[in-house]
């Protein structure tokens, strides 16, 4: 009697386990529906969400605010600090650090926390995005950022700008790239679009077209993604 009962319950138990197994593993539609009910998106094969195996990726789209175009322009980026959401009315905290330095100004003492920078045997001093050189008359003169200068961190408030596979860190008219453990000033690449003009840029008109000029670089205003941006260019 006891043995027969055991067999009965064993049969029923096996049947239940079979059903549970098939519901869990052999019913992809059910599994997908379950995932959607939890609010998880259907990622599709090879489409990571937020994080990829081995390497972190960040999902971003350039615009928010539309159901019609909610799938448009979705990018998976490698860099956490590169944001392509163009049409947002916020300052991103960039300009907060842009001192708006005045080339040629003389200061009596270097700012607290300055760093010494040597370019081709010439000593310079750097603090908060501004470069100084010892003035012949005493004190320190504010100079345009010298190409080749290397600083240990990207300047606070610099804007990451991606061109191909290269990330430039743009700050107030100066472009840095990461080299080893430092960030080195490089000549402004042509055709790069930046969201802010250098604070010391001046307007010039060439052949009837408006440009802005700073430190030998021309910036052409354009409308890109619905907002005014500035493209480094050679005036024509």
């Amino acid at each position: 009697m006891t043995r027969t009962c055991f067999k009965m319950w064993r049969s029923t138990g096996i049947a239940l386990l079979t059903v549970l197994f098939s519901m869990t593993f052999l019913h992809p539609l059910g599994a997908q529906r379950h995932e959607e009910q939890r609010g998880e998106p259907n990622r599709g094969a090879g489409a990571p969400r937020g994080r990829a195996e081995g390497q972190r990726q960040y999902v971003e789209r350039p615009y928010h605010g539309s159901v019609r175009h909610s799938d448009f322009g979705v990018v998976r980026r490698e860099h956490e600090d590169v944001h392509r959401n163009y049409d947002v009315d916020v300052n991103h905290g960039w300009g907060r650090f842009w001192g708006g330095f005045v080339t040629g100004a003389i200061v009596g003492a270097l700012p607290y926390g300055y760093q010494s920078v040597n370019v081709g045997g010439v000593p310079y001093y750097y603090a908060d995005g501004t470069y100084y050189q010892q003035a012949p008359s005493g004190g320190y003169e504010v100079i345009n950022p010298p190409a080749g200068a290397t600083i240990p961190q990207s300047p606070p408030g610099s804007i990451p700008v991606v061109v191909g596979n290269q990330v430039y860190y743009y700050m107030d008219g100066t472009f840095y790239v990461q080299q080893g453990n430092g960030y080195v000033i490089v000549p402004a690449p042509l055709g790069v679009t930046v969201p802010e003009l250098p604070s010391a840029a001046t307007q010039v008109v060439v052949n009837g077209n408006v440009y802005y000029q700073f430190n030998g670089v021309y910036y052409q205003p354009i409308i890109q993604n619905g907002v005014t941006m500035y493209m480094t260019t050679a005036p024509q």
Partner: protein, 276 residues
């Protein structure tokens, strides 16, 4: 328990496997029923009430020959430090079907206007003194697509502008629910929630004979931190006529005409992948 066991024992031995199969089939049937859309839905997981309300709103907007509305938009943004903050702007929108639109977008940082006259879209950036004009198709739906897909110009509140918001939403929505009655800034509304692959969105529809949206929330659940977009809509006006001059762009003195850049190949590739 003893009685159950005794009843089972009274069954002939050959029926016992059959009992196990029946149990399996019953449970399989239950599982299949669980996988079906819930009762009261339209077959793709949208409740009938939510479906009907969304359709009413869509019909009301698309059958209105013209309208004006103001919106306060709140949008999550990521600072350079990584901190998430909310940015805000106001939108004043005027639409005359089938092919006229005017929008003003204002914040403390930006002040822009968009004009669509059935032939061109012009955008004026007042703070930076620039404007640009591009050719546009002759109806609102195609203009919305062309502006964004070719030039990256996002027309604000475009889900209220397109000719059939219901059909557009229905193509993408996987589930929809009527959350229930509530108020938005004191206005009685019905709160609906919908889910799609990458976004969840909600809409608060005004009760009564004028089923206009009073609030829209979109949550981008595939993005880091699930940023949110919120639009509060007020001053709906379906009475004041919108004459032609409203949609005619006149560049202000001193504004510089600049090029409106087409999207680069990378964006075009993304779009073509989407269309595949």
């Amino acid at each position: 328990m003893k009685e159950t066991n005794a009843a089972l024992m009274r069954l002939p031995q050959r029926f016992r496997p059959l009992l196990a199969v029946l149990a399996l089939l019953s449970l399989g049937g239950l599982a299949a029923r669980a996988a079906e859309p819930p009762a009261g839905t339209n077959g793709i997981g949208i409740s009938h009430h939510a479906d009907e309300l969304l359709r009413r709103t869509s019909d009301y907007l698309s059958q209105s020959p013209f309208f004006s509305v103001n919106a306060e938009v709140w949008q999550d943004a990521v600072m350079a430090s990584g901190q998430r903050v909310q940015a805000t702007r106001t939108v004043d929108l005027q639409v005359r079907r089938p092919n006229r639109l005017r929008a003003e977008l204002r914040s403390t940082r930006r002040n822009r206007g968009i004009w669509y006259d059935g032939k061109t879209v012009s955008i004026l950036d007042r703070n930076r003194g620039t404007y640009g004009t591009v050719a546009a198709p002759n109806n609102l739906d195609e203009m919305l697509d062309s502006s964004l897909l070719r030039f990256g110009i996002a027309i604000p509140l475009e889900d209220l502008i397109e000719s059939n918001p219901y059909a557009e939403a229905k193509q993408k929505v996987s589930s929809g629910t009527d959350i229930g009655p509530t108020t938005v800034l004191g206005v009685p509304c019905e709160h609906l929630a919908f889910s799609q692959t990458n976004i969840d969105w909600q809409i608060w529809i005004e009760d009564g004979p004028r089923p206009v949206p009073r609030k829209i929330v979109i949550i981008y659940k595939d993005e880091e931190g699930s940023p949110q977009y919120t639009a509060l809509l007020n001053n709906w006006d379906f009475e004041t006529k919108l004459p032609e001059f409203v949609f005619k762009f006149e560049p202000p003195p001193g504004a510089a005409k600049v090029n409106v850049m087409e999207l680069g190949p990378q964006n075009r590739n993304q779009q073509s992948k989407k269309e595949e």
